[in-house]
């Protein structure tokens, strides 16, 4: 049973081995003349400074979460829309339940002012 996973193990070993090999080879055969500027982390040519963890207004997260909600809705709707003729009433009802739950969430979010920026 565990031997079924052997290809995954092989892939893992190959990828790790291959990438370390490439890094190793380029270090041996390529020229290596480091300067402070070359070793600095690249940030679009800007002087990198400060912490990566900064305070970001929570509103952005809210927008992101709301986006996921509608994004997932579309992801589920699309395959259903492709074959909805074949699924007939069953598909319509099941999708209706899904849509009902989403709509409840949407009505709630609209009513409590989740869609307003300020």
């Amino acid at each position: 049973m565990l031997s079924d996973y052997a290809p995954i193990a092989a892939l893992l070993i190959l990828t790790v081995g291959m990438s370390s090999l490439i890094l190793f080879m380029s270090r041996i055969f390529g020229p290596y003349r480091p300067t402070a500027r070359k070793l600095a982390p690249y940030e679009s040519g800007m002087q990198p400074f400060g912490q990566a963890i900064r305070r970001i207004p929570v509103r952005f997260y809210r927008v992101a979460v709301l986006f996921i909600l509608f994004d997932i809705e579309v992801i589920f709707f699309l395959p259903w829309a492709v074959i909805f003729r074949d699924l007939r009433v069953y598909g319509l009802v099941v999708m209706g339940v899904f849509f009902f739950v989403l709509t409840v969430g949407f009505v709630y979010e609209w009513k409590v002012g989740g869609l307003e920026w300020e």
Binding site: Y90, F100, V104, Y108, V112
Partner: protein, 504 residues
């Protein structure tokens, strides 16, 4: 071209109590948006109504008066509507109804009266109901999230207060962590058996070749990780660290509800996954399931740690938090005993009986704390119990009943629960654990009876307020505790036919 199922194949009616409740939660959510802020009592009454309807349906189904749907399986084997499901439903619905009653005035005086409270409670309840009925690992996980996520929000419901926010954050982070353990465990079980359906897992384990050690290893790891994830939900040692902090910081009405509901859900899922899914997973001895030893070790550790730490607590909510850890240990004995095939049914019934007894007792005990708690969440120290018998004789009597029941004194529901659990343990030859259980019960008498002593024999202000629905909740809990204590056959009759085995 695959066969399109027809709507009647879903067998929705079999899941009627849970479906009614989930639908009710969605509808009340929309209704509540149009209820003005100062009249949120309407939502409370709607919620209580929805819970009552669902409870009546579950009771009818449990007593076999009405059979819903066609056969036990709904949603293509994802939902199992058997007696176990009915009993879990009844326990959690009673808890939720009491939870709404204790919240009614508490939310008013602490300025938290919002509609969200009630329908989040409904969503959690629906989560527990789906968890008890899970016929598939996917349902176990989705139901666990449906149970957990509203609880995270409810824990932080007293929003501007730091303690509440802190406890919500702790609960959320550790809860997310434990969910990851559970998913990993379920994935490994899937990997070992090739299916996520519990009945098929059971069949796959049965036909698993004895010499195939790699599949057994995967299954054992999967079962172990699931045990960790669910052990967190039920607050078993060593996954109990969050419990006291969360119970202390969260609004007391939430704690009254979640201390029981989360446990019911966690244990229902544990029983479904371990006892229904892999009771036949035996490594070499052939007499008990492979997960039994680790479960009884967890049970022993939980009882010992919970009871010993509870002794030194000076805050009532923290004390009851450790007490709830200890009780998770007693219930785990039942789960462990179910690892022996011939006792599996008896042990499953014992766990449910214990949970039913515990639901009334524990919600009752927390309701008394709500009665003595001040609006600013203070006065929950042990000293608030002093002199309560003089100022509030009825309240003190109820608290005494709850404390005796938590100790496990005869003629209370707590004794009945412990009796059945220990009986199952002895039948399963887990005598050392049963002995630890009895000894730690004796130990627990110290801190439970100290509260009774403080109420009756020490002087103090004994300030408390019991407005109408809260008084009902305390009354119902006390009556339930006593009735089940005097007439234990009510409980054992209710649970008599429950079995988790996939036989026929």
């Amino acid at each position: 071209m695959f066969q399109v199922p027809s709507l009647s194949d879903l067998n929705v009616a079999a899941a009627l109590p849970a479906v009614v409740l989930a639908l009710g939660a969605c509808v009340f959510l929309v209704v509540d948006l149009f209820v003005p802020r100062e009249r949120k009592h309407i939502t409370a009454w709607l919620t209580a109504g929805g819970l009552s309807v669902s409870l009546v349906l579950a009771l009818l189904s449990l007593t076999d008066v009405v059979t819903f749907g066609d056969g036990e399986e709904a949603f293509f084997g994802m939902y199992i509507a058997d007696q176990f499901t009915d009993m879990v439903n009844v326990i959690v619905l009673v808890t939720s109804l009491l939870g709404v009653m204790v919240a009614y005035n508490y939310l008013d005086r602490t300025n938290m009266q919002r509609g969200e409270y009630y329908y989040l409670l409904l969503f959690t309840t629906a989560g527990v109901m789906f968890m008890g009925a899970a016929g598939d690992l996917v349902v176990v996980f989705v139901a666990l999230e449906l149970l957990s996520i509203p609880l995270y929000i409810l824990t932080g419901f007293r929003r501007p207060q730091e303690q509440s926010e802190e406890s919500a954050m702790k609960y959320f982070l550790l809860g997310a962590f434990s969910s990851a353990f559970l998913v990993y465990g379920l994935a490994l079980v899937y990997g070992a058996t090739g299916t996520s359906n519990l009945r098929e897992i059971w069949q796959a384990v049965d036909s698993m070749v004895a010499g195939d050690t790699s599949a057994q290893f995967l299954l054992l790891t999967g079962a172990g990780l699931s045990l960790v994830g669910l052990g967190f939900k039920v607050a078993a040692v060593p996954f109990h660290m969050w419990t006291p902090d969360v119970y202390q910081g969260a609004p007391t009405s939430v704690v009254a509800y979640m201390s029981v509901a989360a446990k019911v859900g966690g244990f229902a899922a544990l029983l479904r996954v371990l006892v229904a899914g892999m009771p036949n997973f035996m490594l070499d001895n052939g007499t008990s399931a492979a997960w039994m030893d680790v479960t009884w070790l967890l049970a022993a550790a939980t009882m010992i740690v919970g009871n010993f730490i509870a002794i030194v607590q000076s805050d009532l909510k923290r004390l009851l938090a450790y007490s709830s850890i200890a009780h998770a240990g007693y219930i785990l004995i039942g789960v462990a005993a179910a690892g022996v095939p011939r006792v599996a049914d008896e042990a499953t019934q014992a766990v449910l009986i214990y949970l039913m007894a515990y639901a009334f007792t524990n919600v009752g005990a927390f309701s008394v704390i709500i009665a003595v708690e001040r609006d600013d969440a203070s006065n929950t120290g042990l000293s608030s119990m002093r002199g309560l018998a003089r100022t509030q004789p009825l309240l003190a009597a109820a608290m005494a009943v709850f404390m005796l029941s938590l100790t496990g004194i005869p003629l209370t529901a707590g004794f009945v629960g412990k009796w059945f659990v220990f009986k199952a343990a002895i039948a399963a030859d887990l005598i050392p654990v049963a002995v630890i259980g009895v000894l730690t019960s004796v130990l627990s008498a110290y801190y439970y009876l100290r509260i009774v002593w403080m109420m009756y024999f020490e002087d103090g202000d004994g300030e408390a307020a019991t407005p109408r629905p809260l008084a009902w909740a305390i009354g119902i809990s006390a009556i339930g505790t006593l009735v089940f204590g005097f007439l234990p056959y009510l409980l054992s009759d209710m649970a008599r036919e429950i079995t988790l085995a996939f036989g026929g």
